[in-house]
Amino acid sequence: MTDPKIRVLVAKPGLDGHDRGAKVVARALRDAGMEVIYTGIRQTPEMIAEAALQEDVDVVGLSILSGAHMALCPRVVQLLRAQGMDDVLVVVGGIIPNDDIAPLQAMGIMGVFGPGTSTGEIIDFIRRHAAR
């Protein structure tokens, strides 16, 4: 029996096409020994929830630079819960104003990472909070 790996879905919901941040994080998580499923840009919350289900991931990481995080993030959480994935850790990275952090956390987005966050912080957070 092999060690269960932490599986992470990295997705970019919404319409902005800036995926460099998502790729940097995906690469860092890979180097930290996680299995990262990268789905690319312009994903709808429905696509993300469906991919998370099929891939049976422990973590969903969203990257949003468009400012639409207050609409998109809770929608993803809602859809995940609707299909019984209550134990999935949802985190978001991007340009998130400080004032939005507490409301996002209240909506079930446990980790919120703004500009300047080191990849090490994100890795630590996932290792501490992922269900597996």
Binding site: P4, D31, V36
Partner: protein, 337 residues
């Protein structure tokens, strides 16, 4: 087993969990497979392999769309490599399969190789069984981008498609041993790029050499000396199969219908010639042997007294005994000589 019941009832979450279970191995995996095995053996399994960047994912996407238009359900397994350094993996095949999102007749699962070197993960065959039990009509298995010798897919799939692209090599590459030998079908993808016709010609040439050597330089050899047309691809009068060569431009879906047509002809061929049953038995035998070896290995290692292996290893390292004699000694101690 509740999970198996839910899976058979069509619950996609249960399907995803069952796949994780067999992927992680151990007792849970064995129980899931035992509960589902009787429901397997109905899907046709199609392997898609080839060098990195030939367009395997895009081709899988295009093929799945053709099958969906015909109302057949499709399970997809996409394998990407695990880093030998970190043990992590970046699985990116879904990026090319976004056309299939939201379709309840499609289920895509990405797998990391987790140390396997044959182009698939150790558990890929078991994941195929899970998708089979879930009732998918066709299962598409995309290997990692392979070099020349990763041929495991041929024993896992019923029909193997080897994807080539222009500009990857000359005629000598085409007659080397390895992945070209396992093809039931060739797709020359990116056929809109320069050099596609040369790639097709190189594959034809390879097939010409094979058929003239198979007939011992007899009438085939004489025919080709006179420049006669090569034999039609597909089922041959002697019951063998000549792999068709199909040009495709997967990004535009071109060639996918043709590929599907040949897959189905190959499937019929396997059924009619009895090759399918034969392949299944061969595969089952290899699998039994593999599981038996794994089991014996772990049971034997568990039985050895603590430290005995290290002790003997030190003796070997100090040249007090050679490795073969050391193993003989170990087996004798366990009453297995």
């Amino acid at each position: 087993m509740q999970l198996a019941d839910d899976l058979l009832a069509g619950n996609r979450r249960a399907l995803a969990r069952a796949i994780s279970l067999v992927e992680d191995g151990g007792a849970g995996a064995h129980a899931a497979l035992a509960a589902l095995y009787a429901q397997t053996g109905r899907s046709h399994v199609i392997g898609v392999t080839g060098a990195p960047g030939t367009g395997k994912s895009t081709l899988v996407n295009a093929l799945a769309r053709v099958y969906r238009r015909l109302g057949q359900s499709v399970g997809i397994i996409a394998v990407d490599p695990t880093s030998p350094f970190s043990g992590g993996a970046l699985l990116g095949d879904r990026v090319r399969m976004r056309d299939l999102a939201g379709d309840p007749g499609v289920f895509i699962r990405s797998m990391a190789t987790r140390g396997s070197l044959g182009g698939l993960a150790k558990a890929t065959a078991d994941v195929i069984l899970i998708l089979d039990a879930a009732g998918f009509d066709r299962i598409l298995v995309e290997t990692v981008g392979v070099g020349q010798a990763e041929v495991e897919i041929a024993s896992a799939a019923h029909t193997t498609i080897v994807v080539e692209a222009p500009g990857l090599g000359d005629e000598i590459q085409a007659i080397k041993a390895g992945i070209l030998e396992i093809a039931d079908l060739f797709a020359v993808n990116k056929a809109d790029h320069e050099g596609a016709d040369r790639t097709v010609a190189a594959l034809h040439m390879m097939q010409g050499l094979a058929s003239s050597s198979a007939s011992g330089g007899g009438h085939h050899g004489a025919q080709s000396a006179h420049g006669a047309a090569p034999p039609e691809p597909g089922p041959q009068p002697d019951g063998s199969w000549l792999p068709p060569i199909v040009k495709s431009v997967a990004t535009r879906g071109e060639g996918a219908s043709d590929l599907r047509k040949w897959i189905e002809i190959h499937r019929t061929h396997l059924h009619e010639t009895g090759l399918l049953a034969q392949r299944e038995t061969t595969r089952a035998r290899a699998e039994l042997e593999h599981i038996l070896c794994d089991e014996l290995r772990s049971r034997l290692l568990a039985r050895l007294p603590d430290g005995r292996l290290i002790e003997l290893a030190a003796a070997v390292a100090h040249r007090e005994v050679d490795p073969y004699s050391a193993v003989d000694r170990l087996l004798a101690e366990q009453g297995l000589s």
